[in-house]
Amino acid sequence: MKKSNILLGLAGSLILISLVAWGYQIYNGLIVTNMRNSFSWGLYIATFAFFVGVAAGGLIVSSTVYLFNIEKLKPFTRIASLSAFASILGAGAMILPDMGRVDRIWNIFVYPNFRSPLVWDVIVISAYLLITFLSVYVQLLPDRKKEGSRFLNGWTKAHSQEEVEAFSKKWSKRIALVGLPVAILIHTVTALIFATQASRGWWNTAVLPPDFVSVAVASGTALVLVIALLAVGKEQFDQHKGAFQIMALIVAGSLVVHFFFVSVDLIIHGWWGSTEAKEILSLIFGHYRYLYATELLFPAFTMVLFFTEKGKRSYRVLMIGSVLLFIGVFAHRLMLMFPAFNAIPLSLSIPGAGIESWAYPVALGQLQEGMPVFVSSWAYTPTLVEYGVTLLPFGLVLFVVTAALKMYNFLPQKRSM
């Protein structure tokens, strides 16, 4: 297949560009990013959170099959597991360039601080990586035995094809059921990294973890949907219409829950009217209004599209809706950073001067002519190097998915099982 070779080439070049950019960053330090002391997390962490989000789909789709006995989705459990494995691999890879001392990353394992939500995240993400890998592995076992593949498959030699198929069936189900709580956990814990921090009013809310789960169910299912649509093609679309409709419904339904959480969050931030809350609201509806509008309106549009009868039945609408959702969710992840870091936590009121909120300036960490050293907000826009490094997870996901689709039968119609 020529198309897959082109895609593999593209993925390879994305990975190469990102590695070169990362090398440049390691040589010079994170000064080549536009992050500074007052705005210390940016595009990397937002992209990491995005990929954690889309990694949900795999186990959500496969466990729906087993938990609710939805047979129509069954042909897509392999693609679902594959998309989950690829996404969580991308997320894990994205976190590395954000570490200023990636050469000391082993310190997390040698001296883990179990009070840190970051350590919890390392644990659940590693577990999810393993589970999704095993999920793909057991589902491919029968096919690979038939092909006579030896790699990691040697032990099946002593067993008959029927035995291997029974094993694969049994363990696919078990892994899907064990994996579901872990899938929920990766979003919960990733959200807890932010939500535990009382210093940042924008993050410090108990609604953040459930909201992360709802966004993840929507965007993760949408990723499975997109890969499934591409793999099946327009020709066989009708054959699997039922499955696509269920996935579209899962996406739209979880978006309803997401918008419910968003509304509750905004009301609680706004109602009491504290100066901190007012500052955050003025940031999201003022300076960052376009990005915030993208976060709200794109997924809202997808939600409406996926609820309509016509939308659910159209290949194009499903495709466009999913892409709009991805853009919206990416904006959502970026909007985690902007209002949080541009509302300086150490704000004081000076009643005698009629000042309710005055931000105590933070040192940037860089001395450059024409630029102040102390700031109370930082107009963060990623640098070219940051964009380059951020290609890493995109390249990895594209590479893993394309290579796997090329090597093995993930496509439902070709399966003999």
Binding site: N28, G29, L30, I31, T33, M35, R36, N37, S38, S40, W41, D98, M99, G100, R101, V102, R104, I105, N107, I108, V110, Y111, P112, N113, R115, S116, P117, L118, V119, V122, I193, T196, Q197, A198, S199, R200, A340, F341, I344, P345, L346, L348, I350, G352, A353, G354, I355, W358, Y360, P361, V362, A363, L364, G365, Q366, L367, Q368, V373, F374
Partner: protein, 228 residues
């Protein structure tokens, strides 16, 4: 032992000597300030704020608040940030992995990152080649953890250490010694007869962002300027 500090705002003249002493004694690279002094409410330092012609000008020095419940320490995935037996929150420059979670967690904006190699930063800022300032030797705690080094490695977080290189041998921090108005009082909060303990006990004190529950060990005596 719980080392703490009392800052008497009535005495502060906003001269920033403490910030400069801190900066040079601790060899902070350009753009990095462990200790800041600003005029709350004003858009630049030493400018009066007020309304209807009634002006005021107070100063507020802020460095690490040495919290008893330090968010920065709790979020640190590798245990690089820790509280030593004297109650001082420190960073092990050899263990920090540079994730910057602590910078997001700290409500006081005191944590600073080495975005580039400090020697390179000094060169880029136009400092004379070979010019070195600050305490010249490494300082390690009793477990051998590196808590001060004149040229910080790239990619690690740093902040006020209560001048670990001095206070570990019983001396006073640079900001305390460098203050011309004797604004800062440094001592053991566990010792009831220490000056800091007496002030905390007898005077009305304020801690920054107390509502967040961080329990800082830096106490401020509010500027009173009695008018009746």
């Amino acid at each position: 032992m719980r080392l703490g500090m009392v800052i008497d705002l009535d005495r502060c003249i906003g001269c920033r000597s403490c910030a400069v002493a801190c900066k040079s004694h601790n060899a902070q690279p350009p753009g990095t300030w462990w200790n800041r002094v600003f005029t709350p409410g004003a858009s630049f330092h030493q400018a009066a704020v007020g309304k209807d012609g009634d002006l005021q000008m107070e100063y507020l020095p802020v460095s690490c608040q040495m919290c008893d419940n330090p968010a920065c320490q709790k979020v640190c995935p590798s245990g690089a940030t820790y509280t030593d037996e004297r109650g001082v929150v420190l960073i092990d420059y050899e263990r920090c992995i540079g994730c910057r979670y602590c910078i997001a967690a700290c409500p006081y904006g005191v944590r600073q990152y080495n975005w580039e190699d400090s020697k390179k930063a000094k060169e880029r800022a136009g400092y004379e080649k070979g010019y070195e300032y600050g305490y010249p030797a490494d300082c390690r705690d009793k477990d051998g953890r590196l808590v001060y080094t004149p040229n910080r490695p790239v990619g690690v977080v740093e902040k006020c250490t209560f001048c670990a290189q001095y206070t570990s041998s019983g001396e006073q921090p640079a900001c305390v010694k460098g203050c011309p108005g004797k604004v800062r009082i440094f001592g053991d909060l566990d010792d009831p007869s220490s000056e800091v303990s007496k002030l905390v006990r007898k005077r009305q004190t304020v801690r920054l962002k107390e509502e967040l529950g961080t329990s800082p060990k830096v106490f401020y005596l509010a500027a009173t300027k009695p008018i009746r």
